[in-house]
């Protein structure tokens, strides 16, 4: 073909494809469910399912060992965001007990072409990210709570995800039976 393929930057195309596909999913859910809370729940669940599988990919690519404390975990999460979404969240706002931290995003690839209409202002558009973190950490036996405290789509200056350590899951219990 005479056209140069180089005109399409593969990386960019792929992240746009992801963004748009995700947008299509969210708008489908808004059609499927009357209730915004239900949409939030479904997005979180989908993220969870992805996280559960993504962690295997992450571990096999990075040869990471087990994290001994939350600081290490936070670094790994940051690394994962860099690898998979090409964004580097800042880690900050550590709680005194170092069991809680924030991931701060200046840009969020999932919301690139997104504007929230006023009637869905309770939608947690990127809920999938929280689900993903939670699912992935659960597979390495860390139970965490994960939620948005700031969101650019709602007019905040940056997007902030708060991750809170709940407990270490025990080795003996097989997944799904606790």
């Amino acid at each position: 073909m005479a056209r140069q393929s180089s005109r399409l930057e593969s990386k960019k195309v792929n992240s746009e494809l992801l963004t748009l596909t995700y947008g299509a999913l969210v708008s489908q859910m808004l059609r499927d469910f009357e209730n915004l809370e239900e949409v939030n729940k479904q997005l979180e669940r989908i993220g969870y399912n992805m996280g559960v599988r993504l962690i295997e990919d992450f571990l096999s690519r990075t040869n990471s060992g087990r994290c001994l404390d939350m600081r290490e975990t936070a670094d790994k999460i940051q690394q994962a965001f860099k690898m998979y979404l090409n964004v580097q969240p800042t880690i900050s706002n550590w709680a005194a007990a170092t069991d809680e931290f924030s991931l701060i995003f200046d840009v969020n690839p999932l919301t690139e072409f997104v504007e929230l209409p006023a009637d869905v202002s309770n939608l947690r558009y990127c809920g999938i990210l929280c689900g993903c973190i939670r699912g992935a950490l659960e597979m390495v036996q860390l139970e965490v709570q994960c939620q948005f405290v700031q969101d650019q789509l709602k007019g905040d200056a940056s997007t902030e995800i708060r991750v809170k350590f709940i407990r270490r899951l025990q080795d003996a219990t097989p997944a799904g039976e606790d």
């Binding site: 073909m1 056209r3 393929s5 399409l8 195309v13 479904q42 992805m50 979404l85």
Partner: protein, 151 residues
Amino acid sequence: MLVETVFELLHSELVAYTTENKENDLSTLEYLGYSTGYRLIERLTREYPRFKDELDTMKFICTDFWTSIYKKQIDNLRTNHQGIYVLQDNSFRFLNNLSNGSQYLEYAPKFVAFTCGLVRGSLANLGINSTVTAEVHSMPTCKFHIQVNRT
């Protein structure tokens, strides 16, 4: 950067979500592909000169479009020059990790529906109304049939 991995996971969640309570209805999944393709193509073709004709557009779908999304070109493009195009991909990405042969063949339609929509949506925004179907005999080979609707 491994956005593709994330996209693959998201795609399989899309499949699971849209077919959860309706095993044989792939229309939602196809529609998700359609609306994604419709928007994506606008961004993709920004820098391109206008396509000469329909065949030129199809060639674009087979080469640059496919490469940027599925990491490879279409292996074979055939047409009867009357509005029917058959695109064959010998190792279609969404089927690659599923099976090599006929095992799980009954699930194959779920994994190609999104792409049918993606192609249909892209063509629609390039001014070509079409019907896109897929045919899988032995994974991971997949044939996409594009029928241009002229009315």
